[in-house]
């Protein structure tokens, strides 16, 4: 299917990922953390379908985006855990 790779940046690190994957999948491939909970626990995607909001990160400057609902785009800038 989508074998073409595109380049995105996660926390300032360039990463080549298959076109069409979710931002959540890209973050997991980069082995980056997602976010910390209000009491400081490490959290990661839980529902995979936009319900739990555990996967939220900053995408192209817009905060609180659900990484499981967003698709990677060439040049996308993702900031995790902020």
């Amino acid at each position: 299917m989508n074998t073409a790779l595109i380049r995105i940046e996660i926390d300032g690190q360039a990463l080549d990922v298959p076109n069409g994957i979710s931002v959540a999948a890209a973050i997991a491939r980069a082995q980056r953390p997602f976010r910390r909970s209000v009491s400081g626990q490490v959290r990661a995607p839980f529902c995979g379908m936009g319900i739990c909001f555990e996967c939220r990160v900053r995408i192209d400057g817009i905060a609180q985006q659900r990484a499981c609902m967003a698709t990677v785009r060439e040049g996308m800038q993702v900031m995790t855990d902020d």
């Binding site: 298959p18 995607p45 995979g48 379908m49 739990c52 909001f53």
Partner: protein, 429 residues
């Protein structure tokens, strides 16, 4: 500015696809909205590696190509007023008005708390399936699938297809219940074939009955789980645990619109008549939000709703097929009913509200969602109680109360577009 359509459909799973197909064939101008990037819903979610299932692909393509279709992906319904919806995507807000609205918002997983359920590496069962299809790296990962019902098999097959080592499937129902279910499958030959195919694909994967994951352990990520089974407690080292206890209908939007709901166990579903009409005259509902019924039910209900919403009559054979498909849901529900011990896995310090980190014991002094929310912030976080509300209802605590706009966290610019109550006598006031 408000765009106007004959039929607006929310949800692009099997129910929404069938509704769109039927309404378009009847000559209606249709707007089709889904929060996901692609049509297909949960069961026909597009796989970034393998694409859509073939049947879904051709129907989705046909519907999307239609000249009377306006497709709005990655768009969420934020609020509803009389005959109008307020929508939001990453950058914009827009309004659509309708003559008829078809809700096909589907279902989500019932995710129940147990110690360690917040650790990275723990997901729902369908969730792991969804994540894998979106490119989540699973190659070589040790995966355990647990919970209730046939969705566990589907999740295991998807994980395996994406290169995971599935260590086992742990079903909470007992052996007798599962075997009784298998014996009823002849009534739905399509399902029997599906089950046989999955069984073959998963021939190497151990399948255990009467088991519950009672604890997940690890520092910053999952390392070990404890499974309580008929032969005692087993410790399993794994990288990924996927636990799902079945599905619950996504009724938030229907509730906000004022559609009458009924209860199935602890969870609401939308009440509809034989034409899929809700209690609100021009609002129809189809698929999982009318009670968990599976793909075939969703498809048939979507078709009925699409026809009914455009004034067509529904022939008796379609109604008959629909009743037969719905009966499957009843069989599922009976045989995979939750073992009471699943509701007792959370310990006093297990977090129930994952958004605001509220533990079970913190909630002990409250008997309703509103006072608990005000005092503890339980249900007040980004997910707006979607996870903890359903869990608490299932645990026999207070159910989640009411739904107010916005349905999903919204930007101020979007909310600024909402009329004030004085200029509009809709549901917002």
């Amino acid at each position: 500015m408000t765009e106007r359509y004959d039929v607006v459909i929310v949800g692009a799973g099997p129910a929404g696809i069938a509704a769109a197909d039927a309404a378009l064939a009847r000559g209606a101008r249709v707007a089709w909205i889904d929060a996901q990037a692609n049509g297909g819903g949960q069961v026909w979610r597009k796989d970034s590696e393998h694409g859509w299932p073939r049947r879904a692909q051709s129907i989705i393509a046909r519907v999307l190509r239609h000249s009377s279709m306006t497709w709005m992906p990655q768009t969420e319904v934020i609020a509803a007023e009389r005959d109008e919806l307020l929508l939001q995507n990453t950058h914009n807000a827009r309004r659509v008005a309708y003559n008829a609205l078809i809700l096909a918002t589907g279902a989500r997983e019932l995710l129940l708390p147990f110690p360690g359920w917040t650790l990275p590496g723990v997901t729902g069962a369908g969730a792991l399936q969804a994540l894998a299809k979106q490119g989540w790296p699973l190659a070589g990962r040790r995966v355990v699938i647990a919970g209730a019902g046939p969705l566990l098999w589907a999740a295991a097959a998807t994980a395996q297809r994406h290169g995971a080592r599935v260590l086992g499937i742990y079903e909470q129902a007992g052996a007798k219940a599962v075997h009784d279910f298998a014996r009823t499958l002849w009534r739905w030959p399509g399902k029997a074939v599906q089950a046989a195919v999955l069984r073959t694909q998963l021939a190497d994967v151990p399948y255990r009955y009467g088991c519950a994951v009672r604890r997940a352990m690890g520092d910053d990520a999952l390392q070990t789980i404890e499974v309580d089974g008929p032969h005692g407690v087993e410790r399993i080292e794994c990288d990924q645990l996927a636990v799902g206890y079945g599905l619950i209908p996504n009724t938030e939007l229907a509730h906000m619109l004022g559609c009458a709901l009924k209860l199935e166990g602890a969870h609401p579903y939308v009440a509809v008549d034989a034409m899929q009409r809700s209690s609100i005259a021009n609002v129809y509902a189809a698929g999982e939000l009318c009670g968990i019924g599976g793909r075939d039910t969703a498809w048939l209900e979507g078709r009925i709703a699409g026809l009914a919403a455009t004034g067509a009559t529904i022939d008796a054979s379609l109604q008959r097929q629909h009743r037969h498909a719905r009966a499957f849901a009843t069989a599922l529900r009976t045989h995979f009913a939750l073992d009471p011990r699943i509701r007792n896995l959370a310990t006093p310090d297990t977090l129930i509200c994952r958004c605001e980190d509220v533990s079970l014991q913190t909630l002990n002094n409250y008997t309703d969602a509103r006072s608990a929310k005000l005092a503890t912030r339980c249900g007040m976080g980004a997910c707006q109680g979607r996870v903890c509300g359903a869990a608490l209802a299932e645990l026999g605590r207070f159910a989640r109360s009411g739904h107010r706009p916005p349905l999903f966290p919204a930007r101020l610019a979007t909310l600024g577009d909402l009329p004030t109550p004085s200029e509009h006598q809709g549901f917002i006031a």
